[in-house]
């Protein structure tokens, strides 16, 4: 057994009592509630509050916090801790997320559960450390080298920062995969009144332990649903982990069949479960002719905008994905049949719009509303765009 154990008796937060809190704080509390007992990180604006809160709270719950020498080491320590049996996470922003890509690839390959919160800021490079952007959407999908199928979550409110950090841990354990939470500078620092649910109502998943004896155990067993049980270091299973392409036992392989089986497993374990991995909020789409596709803090402005637009008799609705990778193809495709205009507001020069264009099968206007000056898109900008297109 790992030394670090979840101690649910102690109160992590006051349940059902409205409180003013920051998105970053909600992430930290969500992690603790999900059973996170290890954090390794490196200071970076605008994510540092998560590290600061967890450095105070983790030892109270028997957990460990460590500030590593850089982000490369941080994610490495997180993966190491996860292999040794702790639910583990790190938080960072764009530049740190780039540094983490190498070992994130390792975690995809070695199927190690862990959670990464990326509080997005303006980029590329050092960019705009204190300003908001949504520039890492494609990095979160394609960031590391090779062929893999990530799970990425985009919350849009302080409450969702809490809920979806809990969910990130559950998905990460269930699928044995690193899960990225793409928060952003506005969400991270914005304060909202939040009422956190009782801890026993949270849906917390922990990866199942193997039931077979050690000599029968395959760390990467290919099961019918492609999700394998997981033993931890120190439990008597003595398995081998490597970033090299490996067989079901974890030993390096150059057999063509085994290579294909391994890489297909990486795809199928997420792509065979698209139903479970679709989390989309749909608003006023029933009779809509205009679809706004928005995520993260941009979705807040979009929600406000469609309410005003409806009053002005524009038939407009909102699709807001909370799990952005894998992309919700099915739902978007359904609504593309019904609408004749899609507006995609994003705090970048057009990233997720490519996915919607990929799904277009007939003539249909798909336009971006892009802002990348470090400020949020306002509801008025979205309204103006609707009016401009309809006149």
């Amino acid at each position: 057994m790992a030394e670090i154990e979840t101690k649910p008796k102690k109160t992590i937060y006051k349940e059902n009592i409205p409180r003013l809190m920051q998105g970053n704080e909600a992430c930290a509390l969500g992690a603790l509630a999900a059973g996170c007992r290890f954090f390794a990180g490196y200071p970076i604006t605008p994510s540092t509050e998560i590290a600061e809160i967890l450095s105070r709270q983790l030892p109270r719950f028997g957990g460990k916090f460590i500030q590593m020498e850089d982000e490369i080491a941080s994610i490495a320590a997180v993966i190491g801790a996860s292999i040794a049996g702790a639910k583990a996470m790190t938080s960072t922003s764009g530049p740190g997320y780039s540094l983490m890509q190498e070992n994130l690839g390792y975690a995809y390959m070695a199927e190690v559960p862990c959670v990464i919160v990326n509080v997005m800021r303006g980029g590329p490079s050092t960019g705009l450390p204190t300003k908001v952007a949504q520039g890492d959407v494609m990095q979160s999908k394609w960031g590391t080298h090779g062929d893999y199928f990530p799970i990425v979550i985009v919350p849009s409110s302080v409450k969702e920062c809490f809920d979806y950090t809990v969910k990130a841990f559950s998905l990460s354990e269930e699928y044995r995969i690193p899960v990225t939470v793409l928060s952003d500078e506005v969400l991270g620092h914005m304060r909202e009144i939040v009422k956190l649910p009782p801890q026993e109502e949270l849906n917390i998943v922990t990866v199942p332990k193997p039931y077979e004896p050690p000599e029968w155990y395959k760390h990467f067993e290919i099961t019918p649903d492609f999700r394998s049980p997981m033993a931890s270091f120190g439990e008597g299973y003595r398995f081998h982990l490597t970033g090299l392409t490996h067989d079901e036992y974890g030993f390096p392989t150059s057999s063509r069949t085994e290579i294909v089986r391994k890489l297909e497993k990486l795809r199928l374990k997420t792509m065979r479960h698209l139903d479970e991995l679709t989390d989309v909020r749909i608003e006023m789409m029933d009779d809509a002719h205009i679809m706004i596709f928005a995520y993260g803090s941009t979705a807040r402005a979009a929600r406000h905008a469609i309410r005003i637009a409806r009053k002005k008799r524009f038939k407009v609705g909102l699709i807001q994905p909370r799990i952005i990778w894998p992309f919700p193809d099915q739902i978007v495709r359904e609504y593309l049949e019904q609408v004749d205009l899609v507006i995609v507001p994003e705090l970048n020069q057009g990233q997720i719009i490519r996915e919607i264009k990929r799904l277009r099968y007939r003539h249909l206007k798909i336009i971006g509303l892009n802002r990348f000056d470090g400020e949020l898109i306002t509801p008025q900008q979205i309204l103006d765009k609707i009016k401009e297109e309809r006149h």
Partner: protein
């Protein structure tokens, strides 16, 4: 004797799918692996409580053959992974074994910071003065003026002394051995694993395939003979002048001090909270 040795070795090897090994005939890495196995055997450690972590390179292929909790990580990051493993499960004896390029070039930052932290990890560096797996490029330990495939006109950079670096970064146990002195090497590894804190063992090894060929140093046997001739034990070295030590290297235990160990110190914080909680519970009960 030979039978005894192989009995011990076989107890700790994985027969399944991993042999034959990747190393060239005559390579010193196998001897370093044997020394590690014997050190663990003498300490009588539970196999389930040993974790061997490595990076990338020839030496980093060691874990796959060993029947422990083994972790073959990304290039240079072994110590960072090991830090997470050790913190999450302090019962594990965590041993990092990797090469000079892996631990000192790409992993140099992790190396000095783990030493500074004094986390209870044993770090074994097999120093063959070159990048073997990728074809003989110069490493941070390639001596000045020696040849490498990327230093065709001789090495123009200065090199690291890994043991000095470990000591000045804060490692609390530092030793150096060679693959020629295999039983001494095993003893040094034994002491390093027993030491509570960041312990470091530098293993002088031979890469006749790359380094030996590029520098005309001869066969594996000749290179291992060079180790025998140039090694000076730390007790003898203490009586020698600086001039006498020119071109030689000191072996044995080089440095040992005791400083608070990182995982223990962190545990004290957790214990303090646990005590407070117990007191609170007692108060509530009474």
């Amino acid at each position: 004797m030979a039978e005894q040795v192989s009995n011990v070795t076989h107890k700790y090897l994985r027969p399944k799918k991993t042999f034959p090994n990747v190393w060239c005939p005559g390579c010193g890495i196998g001897i370093a692996m044997g020394a590690l196995i014997r050190a663990i055997d003498t300490l009588n450690l539970n196999k389930n409580e040993v974790s061997v972590v490595s990076g990338i390179g020839c030496t980093a292929r060691i874990p796959v053959y060993l029947d422990f909790n083994t972790l073959h990580t990304t290039h240079g990051r072994a110590i960072a992974f090991a830090t997470g493993v050790k913190l999450a499960n302090p019962k594990l004896n965590v041993i990092v074994i990797s090469g000079d390029g892996d631990l000192l070039a790409i992993g140099g930052n992790h190396f000095i910071h783990a030493a500074r932290r004094n986390i209870d990890i044993t770090c074994i560096l097999v120093n063959n003065y070159i990048y073997g797996m990728t074809g003989g490029q110069y490493s941070p330990t390639t001596p000045f003026a020696k040849n490498a495939s990327t230093a065709p006109y001789g090495m123009v950079e200065q090199s690291f002394d890994p043991s000095d670096l470990a000591k000045s970064s804060g490692a609390t146990f530092v030793a150096r051995g060679t693959v020629y002195h295999a039983s001494q090497l095993s003893r040094l590894m034994n002491q390093a694993i027993s030491h509570n804190g960041f312990s470091f063992v530098e293993v002088i090894s031979n890469c006749h395939t790359q380094y030996g060929r590029l520098n005309r140093e001869g066969s594996a046997v000749k290179m291992i003979q060079w180790q025998k001739e140039c090694a000076v034990s730390s007790s003898t070295a203490a009586k020698m002048t600086k001039e006498d030590l020119e071109g030689k290297f000191v072996t044995g235990k080089l440095h040992e001090v005791f400083r608070p160990e990182y995982v223990n110190e962190y545990q004290k914080i957790i214990d303090r909270f646990n005590e407070e909680d117990e007191k609170e519970e007692q108060l509530q009960e009474s």
